[in-house]
């Protein structure tokens, strides 16, 4: 991707001098600034609302785009008078554990399909791709019945075990692509030197596939952090909820909307993924586009 990118950059430099500066403003800069404004405005709005005192929130006078007397009252309410810290902790546990389980299972599966080429590896690869296309919205009702039957209802374990259903297909598919790019010769050399398949996987393939592992890990972590429908269906008591579900279901009391704490909760729940993302942008993008480009 990096070579294609640099090549392309040179080329657009080559072609772009044909456009005059005012023309570039109209066709490129202004549209992109509008796009960025629209895409980022809800976050600005979320942030500014969470620091606004109630009297400013519920008044139509003055300039709503700015705060006159910023306050931490909403965060105070959120962190000390709701179960938000517990939701945050649940989300962390569920995301980290289900990501770890999925990565381990995916590495093994992807290596088996892509490199061991056992009998039936081709149909297995196809099945993984099909599993990737099954959306949670058609699974959550029967899964709820299964979760109840297994005695896991209303527990973190229910989420930890069900999240891999959408994480494994995705991560396996992504890792298969990465394993494919590792030269066979390396493995053959190791085999001749007497290494077992397990040693090859751990000492040769995995170190070379670290970027792929990071991509799959980041992506899986964000997917499980953002998951909503399973968490809404399989968990009922407040102390077991995850952040997205807790904020949506517990912070709304009747018809009174506490916009301040709601926005503070949305902001705090978004920051961890945004933070992780900012460190691994490239990996994230390659994970996303890698899954689409096969």
């Amino acid at each position: 991707m990096s070579t294609a990118e640099s090549k392309n950059n040179d080329a657009s430099q080559g072609m772009d001098y044909l456009q005059s500066l005012p023309r570039r403003w109209v066709t490129v800069y202004i549209p992109i600034l509008v796009f960025v404004f629209v895409l980022l405005f809800p976050f600005y709005w979320m942030a500014i609302t969470s620091f606004k005192p109630d009297n400013e929130l519920l008044s139509r006078d003055g300039n709503p785009f700015w705060i006159i007397g910023p306050t931490l009252a909403h965060f105070d309410k959120l962190l000390f008078r709701t179960e938000y810290p517990a939701w945050l902790w649940n989300t962390v546990i569920v995301s980290v554990v289900s990501t770890a389980i999925s990565l381990a299972a995916s590495v093994l599966a992807a290596y088996a399909i892509e490199r061991l080429r056992f009998q039936g590896s081709k149909p297995a690869g196809g099945a993984i791709f099909l599993a990737y296309l099954v959306p949670p919205s058609i699974l959550f009702i029967p899964l709820a019945a299964i979760v109840v039957k297994l005695g896991l209802f209303d527990s973190r374990m229910a989420l930890i075990l069900t999240y891999p259903t959408f994480l494994i297909p995705f991560s396996t598919w992504l890792l298969m692509g990465y394993f494919r790019s590792i030269p066979y010769e390396l493995e053959e050399c190791a085999l001749i030197d007497g290494a077992t398949r397990w040693q090859i996987l751990v000492k040769i393939v995995l170190p070379l596939a670290v970027p792929g592992l990071i991509s799959a890990g980041i992506f899986a972590f964000t997917l499980s952090w953002n998951e909503f429908i399973y968490a809404l269906t399989f968990v009922s008591s407040s102390e077991n909820k995850t952040v997205p579900v807790g904020v949506v279901t517990e912070l709304v009391e009747g018809d009174v909307y506490h916009w301040g704490p709601l926005m503070a909760g949305a902001l705090l729940g978004s920051l961890p993924v945004a933070f992780v993302y900012s460190f691994f942008v490239e990996y994230y993008v390659s994970g996303m586009t890698g899954s689409v480009k096969e």
């Binding site: 389980i101 061991l116 590896s121 029967p142 494994i168 904020v247 729940g269 993924v273 993302y277 689409v292």
Partner: protein
Amino acid sequence: MTRLEKFQNNRHALGWAFMLPATVLLLLFLTYPLGLGTWLGFTDAKIGRAGEFIGLENFSFLVTDSVTRLALFNTLFYTVVASIAKFGLGLWLAMLLNKRLPFQSFFRAVVLLPWIVPTALSAIAFWWIFDAQFSIISWVLMKLGLIDRYIDFLGDPWNARFSTIIANVWRGIPFVAISLLAGLQTISPSYYEASAIDGATPWQQFRHITLPLLTPIIAVVMTFSVLFTFTDFQLIYVLTRGGPLNATHLMATLAFQRAISGGALAEGAAIATLMVPFLLAAIMFSYFGLQRRAWQQGGDK
């Protein structure tokens, strides 16, 4: 050689052993529920009561049920309008990001933010933006003198439909744009140079170079986009819960309402099963898109 060593070097045995964890998890929590869901659709199960087989009764009720019909219409409307908008705007954004820009990597990074932030949480921000009394959009339009009273974004059926579509498009554009950008970057610049020398206009370049070379990746990206949109749940659940007057109920939210909130597990499962034919159609579309791509590249896979 010990037995263990022999096992470790047998590709087939080891292959199946390596597949085991993934297979068990997927069979138990994906394949089995998929079958169970279909079965439940043919029973009269309620929450806490195993149902009995009742044949097509659920389905024959659902096809006459006005709410289900409305939900199907809403889902198709939502999917078609939002997908077209996401495609058009996403392609435009991808082409803008593919140009030489100052702070290019910064732009590419922030554009993805709506996609990575939990949808339920950004939907709350939209809920506030669409508030009937304190909407910032209404405020701005009032100040500009374009409207004389606040817009009821989520209280009127058609307003609510378009408001939820806008929120969905906002969330989906980054995925389409960044994926298509990756596709654009694989197109060799020499095509553009050659066509420019031959006197092609920018529109001709777009129509006859960009679009044909991008078609295979567009097919895949749009299939995923359609899948996500068609099965959307959280945005509607947060913004409207299906209201007003069921005007924004999608198949997924209706299935949730009937099965989980209402306790009619079987009926909800039947609604979810009704989504499957549409999903299959989308997957077929993707399959033929991929075929065409392999054919274009001269491959035979």
